[in-house]
């Protein structure tokens, strides 16, 4: 909560809009993120056929592996929403548990992405091999960085909450991170379909 807004015992924010400024700010941020990822996805779509001497997407993509990664990230959205639900009920134990599980699933996804990048590199697809490879690594790399930032936020939140140093509502803090996490998930829903499943 900002200095000029507070949440009363009924959860109502005392702001000019009657809404939490933090939450409104997070939704504005996520709206602006649509433009960032829109640009990266559009650039990839434009360049995915420009493979030059390098491998084609269908030659390097491992659909079964990426499908499992996608499933892991999708399930992390479930554990995140369970963490938010527990936080709203004031159930600290389950909040910590689900936040930690979410971070673990996120780390599994990022680990899978590192493995995938390494495999692609070994198959001759470097960052500068072709326009396709450059736009692919930038898009999926940016997404991976977002997941990593989400993991750091999740783990930091658990640490801060355990020290009871969360300013304002604990539930709202978890909800903010949850919104960010779900956004990262919906971006992957788009990337998985447009980049992996639809052949160039």
């Amino acid at each position: 909560m900002t200095a000029d807004s507070h949440v009363d015992s009924h959860g109502a924010a005392h702001t000019s809009t009657g809404l939490s400024n933090n939450k409104l700010g997070m939704w504005l941020f996520l709206g602006s993120e649509c433009l960032l990822f829109g640009g990266l996805i559009s650039t990839y779509m434009l360049y995915r056929g420009r493979v030059g001497e390098g491998p084609r997407p269908s030659q390097v993509f491992d659909i079964p592996f990426t499908s499992v990664s996608s499933f892991v990230l999708l399930m992390s959205s479930l554990t995140m929403v369970l963490a938010v639900s527990a936080a709203h009920k004031g159930d600290d134990r389950n909040t910590y548990l689900w936040v930690a599980v979410t971070a673990l699933l996120g780390a599994t996804f990022v680990g899978g992405q590192v493995y995938e990048f390494t495999a692609f590199y070994n198959e001759g697809m470097g960052f500068t091999t072709s326009l396709f490879s450059s736009s692919f690594y930038v898009l999926t790399g940016f997404h991976g960085v977002h997941v990593t930032v989400g993991i750091i936020m999740l783990m930091s939140t658990v640490g801060i909450m355990k020290r009871s140093k969360v300013p304002g509502s604990k539930a709202e803090t978890v909800e903010m991170i949850g919104l960010y996490w779900h956004f990262v998930d919906i971006v992957w829903i788009i990337i998985f379909t447009l980049i992996y499943l639809i052949p160039a």
């Binding site: 109502a12 924010a13 809404l19 939704w27 649509c34 829109g38 779900h182």
Partner: protein, 99 residues
């Protein structure tokens, strides 16, 4: 104060409800992957895009609670999304992506 002015609204779903939503999302993902291996002909692209949009809307509506939250949040988010779709739709059309 109305419910719409609450910063933390009633989310309207139980944990079992969230698990059901996740099961639906997992099933749609399985169908998406299946389209990669099954020849659907001209239905391949539309079916994949429809499933992608359905998954997107389910996550945004239920996991991100836009369905239950104040409409201003929906406006703020969808405004950014529609702006992105418009700008990059024009961008791709300029480079003859759709032709």
């Amino acid at each position: 104060m109305t419910t719409e002015t609450h910063s933390t609204t009633e989310h309207g779903m139980s944990n079992a409800g969230y698990v059901r939503i996740a099961a639906i999302l997992a099933a749609i993902t399985a169908l998406e992957v299946a389209t990669y291996y099954v020849d659907l002909g001209s239905l391949f692209l539309p079916s994949l895009l429809i499933m992608m949009v359905v998954k997107f809307i389910i996550v945004v509506s239920y996991f991100m609670h836009l369905k239950f939250d104040n409409k201003l949040f929906s406006w703020v988010f969808y405004a950014g999304l529609i702006l992105a779709l418009t700008v990059y739709g024009i961008f791709l059309a300029t480079f003859h992506f759709f032709s």
